[in-house]
């Protein structure tokens, strides 16, 4: 069922194509507009690194407003919410044409591809007019409040509570791992509204303001020093009841939809992503670069390692393409995306391991001649597990593949069909 949406979107493209601008016409129009309106990428400028994040969040709001004014924002979103009502083929063409330009890439995930995607499917008309249009127009940035410190892989075991009080909900609790929440305006927040129901049946999704006197947000510093994640503490945060998305206690359904868009975005198959990351400002080092930098590139052991990682990187692209085809055609279940997820962990981790091996002593101290990037190998290695933790752990993905692709028996869950307040929680 979850796959349907993509299929419908592309069928829609075919069905309606007579009435739509052709992709080629659109491409030509986009090319002209881009060249007249968007700033060109500057080889001397740094993009998409932690260092420039704060600057980019400001710039990208403005860029999104430009796109919106020019009629190129939200290409696959319906016109009634500020989008362009076009097809993924148009989006692909626009992304291709936008390659030489700065684009509001930071708004792609989670604001447009995950939160807006979910709201389009599950939000009320009023919510769509306010938040979806807000996100598309660049007036607003959305983020997700899902994970909690107690939860880990067990999202539905969350403890943040919302109490109905007249026309409002009063929210208390704590969220974490909210990517770039500090730069967002509103969050889709999954909370518990019924403690007597089994865990999946007592949840609700509520839109909350990110910055509020009753909530405290702080950035979480990671082991490599980066801080794109945030955690939030709510103390009697009051939001209007109309911010409820879907029905009360049906939040798991809404959350599943949001997770679907997250997997799609992470897997590279979202129709709501516009523009493509071209460069990270010189910080993307390949294993071959490291091999050359340490002067080992003619060593046979090194050449095998570089050849192997090159093969793995190629295979990763190939398998993402294949699984996307399988899911789009309906031959594969939606959970086949968990296989992409596993590759997206295993293969980059293998790359980090090889880089560490090749970089040798230069991965742990700056050498006199170095420009510092070899030490980045060591710093990056600290976050090696990020690839198998972010967006659900690899262990959960393995459960998914075995249970939803191979249809093996499900793991025993001690909290199934138990009133949530009776579930054991450990220390």
């Amino acid at each position: 069922m979850l796959v349907t949406n993509i299929a419908v979107t592309s069928e829609f493209g075919e069905f309606m194509s007579d009435q739509l601008e052709s992709v080629e016409d659109f491409r030509i129009r986009a090319r002209a507009w881009l060249s007249g309106n968007m700033p060109k990428l500057d080889p001397a400028k740094e993009y998409n690194t932690n260092r420039v994040a704060d600057r980019e969040w400001v710039e990208h709001r403005e860029l999104q407003k430009k796109l919106f004014a020019g009629g190129f924002a939200g290409i696959c979103f319906p016109k009634e919410y500020g989008g362009q009502g076009l097809t993924p083929a148009h989006q692909t063409a626009f992304t291709e044409e936008s390659a030489p330009y700065e684009m509001p890439l930071r708004l792609n995930v989670p604001s447009l591809s995950i939160c807006s995607g979910m709201l389009l499917d599950m939000g009320s008309e009023e919510q769509k007019q306010k938040y979806l249009r807000g996100a598309i127009s660049g007036e607003m940035i959305l983020c997700q409040f899902l994970s909690e410190p107690s939860g880990g892989s067990d999202l539905a075991g969350l403890l943040t509570r919302a109490q109905r009080d007249g026309d409002t909900y009063v929210i208390n609790g704590q969220k974490c791992w909210s990517t770039f929440a500090y730069a967002a305006d509103y969050a889709t927040c999954l909370v518990r509204t019924d403690w007597d129901a089994p865990k999946h049946r007592g949840l609700s999704m509520i839109i909350v303001p990110v910055h509020d006197d009753a909530s405290h947000l702080q950035r979480v510093r990671m082991s490599d020093g980066s801080d794109e994640f945030c955690e939030e503490f709510f103390t009697d945060l009051v939001v209007p009841a109309e911010n409820l998305v879907g029905a009360e206690n049906d939040g798991w359904t809404v959350g599943q939809r949001q997770l679907f868009y997250e997997r799609q975005a992470v897997g590279g198959g979202s129709p709501y992503v516009s523009g493509r990351q071209a460069t990270r400002g010189g910080s993307e080092v390949t294993v071959a670069d490291v091999a050359r930098a340490v002067g080992k590139d003619q060593d046979s052991a090194t050449r095998e390692l570089v050849g192997w990682q090159t093969a793995l990187d190629t295979v990763m692209h190939q398998v993402v393409k294949r699984i996307t085809i399988g899911m789009t055609s309906g031959e594969y279940p939606a959970m086949a995306s968990s296989m992409m997820r596993l590759c997206h962990a295993e293969i980059p981790q293998n790359r980090m391991d090889i880089m560490l091996d090749l970089a040798g002593d230069e991965a742990v101290t700056s050498a006199e001649h170095g420009d510092g990037y070899l030490r980045n190998v060591g710093i990056q290695y600290l976050m090696r597990q990020g690839a198998s933790l972010g967006g659900g752990s690899s262990e959960m993905s393995r459960n998914m593949v075995s249970e939803r692709v191979l249809m093996m028996p499900r793991e025993m869950a001690a909290d199934r069909d138990v009133p949530f307040r009776e579930v054991r929680r450990g220390r």
């Binding site: 050449r303 570089v306 050849g307 192997w308 093969a311 190939q318 593949v401 191979l406 093996m408």
Partner: protein, 376 residues
Amino acid sequence: MDLELSEDQKLFRNTTAKFLDNESPIEKVRALNKAGGGFPAEFWAQGAELGWAALLVPEELGGGSISGNGFQDLAIVAEEFGRLVSPGPLLPVNTVIAGLVEGAESGPDHSAEIEGLMSGESVATWAVYEPKGHWDPLNPTTTARKEGDNYVISGVKDRVEIGNEADFFFVTAKTETGVANFIVPSDLGSVVIEPVAALDFVRHFATVRFNEVTVPASAMVGTQETAPAIIERMFQVVVALQCAEMNGLINRVFEFTVQWAFDRYSFGRPLASYQALKHRFSDMRTWIECCNATADEAVKAVNNRAENSARLVSVAKAYIGTKAVQIIQDCIQMHGGLGVTWEHDCHLYLRRATTDRQLFGTPADHKRRIADLIGL
């Protein structure tokens, strides 16, 4: 298994699978092994009728494929061969055909040989490996000395598949000025064939000695100038076919192992309910998806003579060669002791996978080739 096969190709796959299922089920493969291995001539003749040796032959010589993508169709056959560890000279015959076709424009006419192979009347194989030699076809120690209008070929080739059955050999040899390929009939007195032992359950190999074998200049395939391109083409063809075959092997082994995990109970629960095993099945499933993806891309690249075909073929061989045997070994582990018995089919698959993995470049060799190809 390519997820984007045309209807024609799906039909072709089904026909091939059904034929193999009828004519060469595993019990027949076992019987063949007991009888000494090799392949039944009848079986190959029927296969040739189904077009197994016609897919790389141009239409003007009576070959071709319905889909118009002959190499993709051939890979389908190779994959089905893997699923049933089929006997038969699918790889050597088609590799030779690829070489003959590749040389046709620049060199002497070999359309008779092509037609013979296509019809199944004759079989042939590439004599390229040399004793104690690693994969280095552009530097053979076997020599071809020009004498008047003839060439005299001297040297030893080994690891020659169907060396014992081949009607002729496609011999890569060193000339005074470079390297060249020759057609050499196997029934000459100066050609001495010694069968050798092999790991595969039915595939045969031989060492072949060319003792001052005189062949006419018209035995050359292509020219010395085009020889490296011919060799590269044959190499890509045979390696991509190995990859397709290994994919067939692992897909089939994985299927029956998953089934076993559902059927087999331990401590009152099916094996498939144990999380440690489930997670390994998940990893295997994911790797198989990767194998399928990369084999498909390699096959397409060879089919389309894509600019990056050399690299994609080596990527596929490095990856699948690494994973295929890992996956089969772990599937054996899932079977417990049963998996390492002669009676269980696992070892037939492992023998074939190991053979494909080791010949025409191990994964390590292909990793190094990738490093070369990316200009490291």
